[in-house]
Amino acid sequence: MYSNAVWRKGLRKPNQPAVRPSGWQLFNHNRLARLGMWIFVCCTVLACLAPILPIPDPNATALVHRLAKPWLIQWFFGDMVQNPPVFEGWLGTDHLGRDLLSRVLWGTQISLLVGGSATLVAALIGSLLGLVAGFWGGRIDNLLMRGIDMLMAFPYILLALAIVAVLGAGLMNALFAIAIVNIPFFARNVRGVTLGVVRQPFVEAAQLVGKNRWQTLCTDVLPNVMPTIVITMATTLGWMILETAGLSFLGLGAQPPQADLGSMLGEGRKLLFTAPHVSIIPGLIIFILVMSINLIGDGIRDVLDPRLKSGVMGRPAAATNIRCNREADEFARPEVQGLIVNQLQTEFQLGHATYQAVNNVSLTLEAGECLGLVGESGSGKSVLALSIARLVPSPPGCIVHGQVWQDTQDLLSIPLAQLQHIRGNKVAYVFQDPATALHPMLTVGSQLVEAIRAHRPISYRQAWQQAVNWLERVQIPNPGQRVHSYPYQLSGGMRQRVVIAMALINQPKVLIADEPTTALDVTVQAQILKLLKQLQQDTKAALLFITHDFGVVTTLCERIAVMYAGQIVEMGYTTDVLNHPAHPYTHQLIKCIPKLGGEGALATIDGLPPAMNALPPGCHFAPRCPWAETRCKESTMTLKAISNSHWVRCCKPL
């Protein structure tokens, strides 16, 4: 969560190779991880230097000076008269008068060595097992994983104890015990990731370029599993040190005179009441060491984890943030049955870049009307749809300007409680992918009931009856039975019907359908479109239909609006726009669509849509437009009417 800022600086602009911040840069930007790194390096260096530092022999006993308190504590708390501070080493001495500083340094060295070695052994063996099991699968996987499961059936500290019981107490034996009990952990983690990687198409592609299994494993699978191994190592090292210390604490690890931090703590425990510093100091060192390692581990995980890399790991708030300049909003309160969107502007703030996803969009949706919103991916059409009920994930999204009027209310300026009353009640949504739009662990019926009861004070039983009725209205066969099923038990088309029922169940004034048929097959799409049209006519809801498919729009909508780079570039009656497109983009786009019965090469649009954080000045389409002139690239375009129902954002419409 700390590293995102740097990474975002390197966000790619299309057509430019990204500035890739190195892993180290990312890591270094994370302050906590850097702090951990420094502490860890200091501890390690000091521990390594123990043999050459001017400190007493850790095992030299001097019973005369036993249990001396650390010098600083004496100095602070000792009374100067009766017990003048005696310097007996910086950290004092233990019950045999051995110098604690020296013992702690040597002990740290041993603890680090044992913990590190155990990590390496466990990582090596565990990762190997996990890779083999995940990559080869089948019987090998089964056999290995049964064994691993068996080992994991023991609470692992207990297993370590049992192993030490067999091997006998001792540092090396403790090391083996710790390593062995952590092997299953590595094996499971690595196997899981390997399975995920192996299912990726690029592993199949490796097969097609003539690699054998081993080559695929080494060049394709391993590099993609490696980050997980490193993360697991970094996050377990601290743990391993704690475990070794624990065994030594119980007297099963390091044997005297050899001492690691754990055994020092164990010895000091008996003197807890008389000389607490003997046990507190080694414990403190373990704590600091492990904490620094954990900080580093978290830093490494943040850098390497692909999920954290792929975007903002933020929690979307209940409603999109609004950052409007309210004084500028001088817009007469209209009485609208449908929906009026006025100069809406939505941005995404990612690091230092601002992506203008929706840029000054105004549109009117009359009651009972169906307006199609068409555009390619990234044109901002979905963000526009989500902005209406403030459903844009925020952070990073933010509405910076505009109003959305629905029935004398501006949805963007009312409080959340009121907005929640409008969502699903006056303004309802149908989303693109029915596979993910429904909660997988709740029955269809309970989700429908929930939608009703969020807005109507009726009993559960009544609501349930309504849910069944609505399932029937969206033509789901056997609704009385289907209402009890979970979403995964329904086909894609059925799920989308449920979503539609859920949207219409409160008879909303406005229905916003965001690519509702894109994830479906054509024959199912045709059914759903038919159903939508019919229900929209029945309920007299205004429909805002968002799609990338011109064909779908023409079957459903009287009017369409075409979006490009966050703006509406053309709007008018469907027949006008399709037959006489006035904006060059619309014109080109329609020519790109393969039509049944068409001939010859397809038209294409050169270039790529502009990056939304670096929009070209003037007309955003100018760089790709074959008719562009210099003035297109300079002056800002406004949406102008070319007839009383046809609007175009172009200075020389076709």
Binding site: P201, L208, V209, R497, V522, T523, C592, G598
Partner: protein
């Protein structure tokens, strides 16, 4: 069936079945397997584009994976240039393949041979590239492992490939996540071409792309076919794209071929009711507010409980009692090589 006399098809499949066996455990009765492909006979001539259309779950992707050796048929054989290259075939003698224990013809040696002749273009172009390798690395792998080219020959060939798919040279040093969908798909095509194959099997190569980008990729494909004398097996759910690019079309439903023939015959005189339904379901431009699909909410049959008769019968407006009891066979329809599996086909 549709082979012109005396001409050997470049790629041919005979009675290809793919069954996914149900995992049986001690506690459950062994269920019937899932028949994803049920006896597919296809033949593809050199230089033609065979389009395969059908909706999700019809088995078209499984078929594609079988053709390139990513999956093995449970039964049936694939012939390349008349020689069996993969499959289970106990009767014929194998010229190319050496039968291994499980009667599968595929083995290490002809796996490479297969990869040199037939290449595959993935639907999800970005994830078909190793995320930790720059494009150049991915592109040179076929040269290295399949063709055994020396390292020094890589560079000019890489440039040539990337030019052929109309991408700028600097793409070579990018990582897959830095590519747009269209660019990634063109890199995928370039990688498939790197091995100099005769056949490209394209599994929904443009379905994830926007129309303007889709047109770019389709044009690249059409041009490459001319310059390299390639043969395509083009799989898509989008009928208008298939019509544009193919010469012959195969329509699949529930693991079977229901209609096959030239683009003209299938698209203009469809005989199978399913083909007609597909064509009618496409939303067309300039045909406002007219949805003329009669059927409601009918779905694919339960794959674990396949129907005895025609799989399409429950959705078919013309279905009669026979349709529910007997599986229709592929029979000749008007038009050259035009066949359909229907008891009561629409005839002109």
């Amino acid at each position: 069936m549709s082979i012109k006399h005396g001409e050997l098809p470049l790629l041919e499949t005979k009675q290809l079945w793919r069954t996914f066996a149900d995992k049986h455990s001690i506690f459950r009765r062994q269920q019937q397997g899932l028949h994803v492909l049920q006896g597919i006979d296809l033949s593809i001539n050199a230089g033609e584009v065979l389009g395969i259309v059908g909706e999700s779950g019809c088995g078209k992707s499984t078929l594609a994976r079988l053709l390139v050796g990513l999956d093995r048929p449970s039964q049936g054989v694939v012939y390349f240039n008349g020689l069996p290259i993969l499959g289970n075939d106990s009767s014929s003698t194998h010229v190319l393949g050496i039968t291994n224990k499980r009667n599968n013809i595929i083995n290490k040696r002809n796996k490479k041979l297969l990869a040199k002749s037939i290449q595959y273009v993935f639907q999800d172009a970005v994830s078909a590239l190793n995320p930790r390798k720059v494009v150049a690395m991915s592109l040179q792998e076929p040269m290295q492992y399949l063709l055994g080219m020396a390292n020094k020959h890589f560079q000019p060939r890489l440039k040539q490939l990337i030019d052929q798919v109309k991408l700028p040279d600097e793409i070579l040093q990018r990582y897959p996540h830095e590519l747009s969908g269209g660019q990634a798909q063109r890199v995928g095509i370039a990688r498939a071409l790197a091995a100099n194959p005769q056949i490209l099997v394209l599994d929904e190569p443009v379905s994830a792309l926007d129309v303007s980008v889709q047109a770019q990729v389709l044009n690249v494909l059409l041009e490459l076919k001319q310059t390299h004398k390639l043969t395509y097996v083009f799989i898509s759910h989008d009928l208008s794209v298939v019509e544009r690019i193919s010469q012959r079309v195969v329509v699949m439903y529930f693991g079977r071929v229901v209609e096959q023939g030239s683009v003209n015959d299938v698209f203009h005189q469809p005989c199978h009711p399913y083909t007609r339904l597909l064509l009618a379901s496409i939303p067309k431009l300039n045909q406002s507010l007219a949805i003329e699909v009669a059927e409601n909410s009918a779905e694919l049959p339960d794959p674990f409980n396949p129907p005895i008769g025609c799989a399409f019968a429950p959705r078919c407006p013309r279905a009669k009692a026979t349709c529910f009891q007997e599986k229709p066979a592929l029979t000749a329809m008007p038009g050259e090589g035009h066949i359909a599996a229907c008891h009561f086909p629409h005839l002109p």
